[in-house]
């Protein structure tokens, strides 16, 4: 057997060298950076190898077996001889290894190499996307997130100047905010900044802070309270905790602020004004006008640093925000989603118990990391609603929608029966269609409904899909090509595909093709071993070098033979499906291929030689 595997390995090695040489002449897309061209060609060579591995393996196996059997043909004068059983053992081990390798190649390596090539092509695009998104976030004031994207871009391309610039800008902005987030109490400073190196004191920095101290003091003496407060705040932002000017700056800031507000609220008591505004917000909450309540408290929260620690404002703003989160979402949540979508072009349908149905399509889906896929955003969601006759009565389009699972226990029994949900369904997708601006009621995004029949028109801002949330997650895959869906997902989809508009027979046949592929390869290679025995090299013959010139013909024949085998294999799987139905197909296929294996084994063992 060692000799057999040794000969086969030489053959496979030669084929690999040829594939790698062929890849030298392959075209490289323009998007691939120069530094990655060699790697791309290398991966292409491996891709050729994996694509043609089955016929290469078949050719190599037949040639190796033919030579091996030719030199070890003694002891099989009769059929079912002991020597033949020994050969059968060796061949079976070799064949099982081959079937395993071929399955690995098609299911794992082929996919991995494809993904790696995509990554190389997309890397420059991804760096640009990261920078573009980072800049958008920076411009909108989300410096922390901008910094993360700049960091991601630098990891992919450490030499990127744009990424480095963005990183620096975001870093400065983040530090400024961090350092300005210091709670100021009158006559007492309590620092709540992040840890800084309290030992290190930069003389040039002190000089700059002192300049702001002087400017603030000058303005203060002139009673220019805004300027005094402004320069003091800038100085506080730049100063380190050990800065000798810090205390002075804080006193200037707080005193000028107090004077400022006292000056502008001379007509009415400040506390009364704030109380009035809080009362307005609280009333809106009681009246369930959560959006108005949220904007009132947000305005208060944002209007003053002191209000950000006001317990009433903080508490009721949070309540209003939580209530809003149940009905809609903020537009800034979707700023960077398109670049990092988990899947694209998802479509499915489902029927209600009255025979009507919805056809769903969304262009992209992004999962929020760390949520276990329980928060997702759908881009360009379209829903076509059809009546029981299949006629369109309504369409809905929205640029972005947010999806969360909700428990079916929160639905009324009437809703559950209309949706036709099974008892086993625990949660369903809850879709929020409305998005709002986080800081003010200036703009919002609403779903667009169009009605095509005369009926009562409603414009809901949230929907529930009449399917299980688990099924919804399963459908976010390449349903149009079951050949590339992960096997475990494909297995789960077998019984559900037809409910959502996909052919159960096609899914089942693809599943059978993939699961029984190694089994079929064992049968085919055993048949090839028999063929190799029948055409083995003569005992007195030696392998002539010029015979290897015929190997390309071998390979061509091997390719055609492999395609024929796969064609017959797929036909047989369809036949099993047709005979046994969906439920018995796996067992039926197992029985069929077991019978094939037994038959080919008997055929092999029945071989004999004249010596």
């Amino acid at each position: 057997m060692k000799k057999l595997l040794g000969l086969l390995s030489i053959f496979l090695g030669l084929a690999l060298v040829i594939c790698l040489c062929a890849s030298i002449f392959s075209k490289v897309p323009a998007d691939v950076p120069d530094s990655s061209r060699f790697l791309f060609k290398l991966l292409t060579g491996f891709e050729y190898y994996i694509k043609y591995l089955p016929p290469i393996m078949m050719t190599g196996f037949v040639v190796s077996c033919s030579v091996y059997f030719g030199q070890n043909a003694v002891g099989s004068a009769s059929r079912f001889s002991a020597a033949m059983f020994a050969r059968f053992r060796h061949v079976m081990i070799a064949v099982i290894i081959i079937a395993f390798l071929l399955t690995l190649a098609t299911e794992v390596f082929g996919v991995l190499i494809g993904r790696q090539k995509d990554r190389i092509i997309n890397r420059p695009k991804l760096v640009n996307d990261y920078i573009k998104v980072g800049r958008t976030l920076y411009d909108n004031g989300y410096y922390d997130r901008a910094m993360r994207y700049a960091d991601g871009a630098l990891k992919l391309d450490p030499k990127s100047k744009d990424a480095a610039e963005l990183m620096d800008a975001a870093d400065v902005a983040v530090n400024r905010i961090r350092e300005s987030n210091i709670r100021i109490k009158l006559y007492e400073s309590v620092e709540n900044a992040e840890k800084v190196d309290r030992v290190k004191i930069d003389p040039s920095q002190i000089a700059e802070v002192y300049q702001y101290y002087l400017k603030s003091k000058e303005a203060f003496e002139k009673k220019e309270w805004f300027n005094a407060h402004y320069y003091a705040e800038v100085g506080i932002g730049l100063a380190s905790p050990k800065d000798p000017n810090l205390e002075g700056l804080k006193k200037l800031a707080t005193t000028s602020w107090n004077n400022l507000t006292e000056y502008h609220n001379m007509e009415k008591n400040e506390d009364q004004m704030i109380f009035d505004r809080k009362y307005e917000g609280y009333l809106a909450l009681v009246e369930n006008d959560d959006l108005r309540a949220y904007y009132i408290f947000t305005e208060l929260y944002n209007s003053s640093r002191e209000f950000q620690s006001d317990p009433d404002i903080v508490f009721y703003r949070k309540i209003a925000e939580n209530r809003i989160n149940e009905k809609c979402f903020f537009m800034d949540e979707t700023l960077e989603l398109e670049t990092f979508e988990d899947a694209n072009d998802i479509y499915f349908s489902y029927k209600y118990s009255d025979g009507s149905q919805d056809v769903i399509y969304f262009k992209g889906v992004t999962t929020v990391a760390g949520t276990g896929k329980s928060i997702q955003y759908l881009r360009n969601l379209s829903i076509c609603s059809l009546d029981k006759e299949g006629k369109l009565f309504r369409t809905m389009n929205v640029p972005y929608a947010k999806v969360l699972p909700i428990s079916v226990e929160s639905l009324s029994s009437m809703t559950k029966s209309l949706m036709g949900l099974d008892e086993s369904v625990k949660s369903v997708p809850y879709i929020m269609l409305k998005s709002i601006n986080r800081d003010g009621p200036t703009d919002q995004s609403l779903p667009e409904y169009t009605y095509y029949q005369k009926m009562e028109e409603t414009y809901p801002e949230h929907l529930i899909f009449a399917i299980s949330y688990d099924d919804f997650l399963l459908l976010e895959t390449s349903m149009h090509n079951p050949g590339i869906i992960p096997l475990t997902t494909l297995f789960k989809l077998l019984s559900r595909a037809v409910k959502y508009g996909f052919s159960a027979e096609v899914f089942e046949s693809v599943f059978l093709n993939r699961v029984f592929y190694p089994f079929w390869m064992v049968v085919v290679f055993l048949l090839l071993a028999t063929f190799a025995w029948n055409n083995r090299i003569g005992i007195d013959q030696y392998f002539k070098f010029w015979w290897s010139l015929v190997f390309p013909v071998f390979f061509f024949v091997g390719t055609v033979f492999y395609r024929l085998c796969m064609f017959v294999f797929k036909l047989m799987n369809y036949a099993v499906l047709a005979s046994t139905g969906l439920s018995g197909a796996i067992i039926g296929a197992f029985v069929l291929y077991s019978a094939c294996l037994v038959a080919t084994s008997v055929f092999f063992l029945a071989r004999r030689s004249r010596i």
Binding site: F348, V359, G501, V557, V568
Partner: protein, 325 residues
């Protein structure tokens, strides 16, 4: 003599088993060709069995001589075997193929009386072709504008612009979801068989049609058509070419596929270009009167001659070697 008789027995065993097994496989294949999602898979029907038998019987008759030659590689014998092979080749091409044609006509006329009914795509299934997804919401019905029509949700998923539309779709051969599925009815099925059917270089359907056409065209035309049979049978010369049987087997398979492919139109694009340049030639004009593809006829004859010469030379060389030993 015994081996010659064995060859004859093998001939009939291969032929009968090949037709039986091939008919079963082809029936399954033709049912899958017509399969439409949601309508259930049908394995066998009398009509499809007869249609498959008609197709496969011809295919097996084309392949039987190469198959017997393949058997001969492992079981070589002397002149008697060669004579037996010549007799069987004559039997196949001069008698069995024309007789099969008449038998198939009888079967078709008496058992395949109903016109094949067209199947229309079912509703409630997503069918994706390139960047479009079709979801028929209704069964196909006859429309006032003529032809069959059904309403569909059509989703366009191109990178530049994606949209969802609802519109009536007419069932025409140029409809993407029909043309992309060919030869299957259902595009969902064709996608799983895509690579396998494209790699088969031989168009057996064209071979069968050509054979039947030529038989109907008369004796002289069929005589010229026999160049195809001559080329296929001449492959017998490869059975003893090399000492290593594997080489002989592989070359036999390769050359058989090549001959079948060339005669089923594999080289048509290039041959048409050559024929356009020589259509005024006298020999070409003469040949064109009696055969559909004169260049293929010439190629078949040349190949047969080459293989015959090769066989003679090989036999002489081997005989000489044996005498020396």
């Amino acid at each position: 003599m015994k081996k010659a008789l064995n060859l004859i027995i093998i001939y009939f065993v291969f032929l009968i088993l090949g037709i039986a097994f091939g008919t079963l496989l082809h029936t399954m294949y033709s049912n899958i060709l017509n399969y439409v999602a949601g309508r259930g898979l049908q394995l066998f029907s009398v009509e499809s069995l007869i249609e498959s038998f008609v197709h496969i019987s011809f295919c097996m008759l084309f392949l039987i001589c190469p198959a017997v030659s393949f058997y001969r590689i492992r079981h070589p014998a002397g002149v008697s075997q060669g004579i037996a092979f010549i007799i069987m080749s004559f039997l196949t091409w001069a008698i069995l193929i024309p007789a099969n044609h008449n038998f198939c006509n009888y079967l078709t006329d008496n058992f395949l009386t109903s016109a094949p009914h067209k199947t229309y795509l079912s509703k409630d299934y997503f069918r994706r072709v390139d960047n479009e997804v079709y979801y028929f919401t209704d069964d196909f019905t006859y429309s006032e504008k003529g032809g069959m029509e059904a309403d569909a949700v059509v989703i366009s998923i191109s990178r530049e612009r994606s949209y969802v539309d609802y519109r009536p779709v007419r069932d025409t051969p140029s409809l993407k979801v029909n043309s992309a599925a060919a030869p299957f009815r259902e595009v969902l099925v064709s996608q799983s068989f895509l690579n396998d059917t494209k790699s088969l270089f031989v168009n057996f359907e064209e071979l069968v049609k050509k054979a039947r056409r030529t038989i109907d065209a008369g004796f002289i035309r069929y005589l010229f058509y026999l160049s195809f049979g001559l080329a296929l049978c001449a492959i017998y010369a490869l059975t003893d070419l090399f000492d290593w049987k594997l080489l002989n087997s592989v070359l036999l398979f390769f050359l058989s596929a090549f001959v079948l492919g060339c005669n089923s139109g594999l080289l048509s694009p290039w041959l048409s270009a050559i024929e356009a340049g020589i259509d005024s030639n006298v020999v070409y004009s003469f040949l064109a009167r009696w055969t559909e593809e004169p260049l293929v006829f010439v190629g078949n004859c040349l190949l047969a001659l080459l293989l015959l010469v090769l066989w003679i030379v090989t036999s002489i060389v081997k005989n000489h070697k044996r005498k020396k030993e």
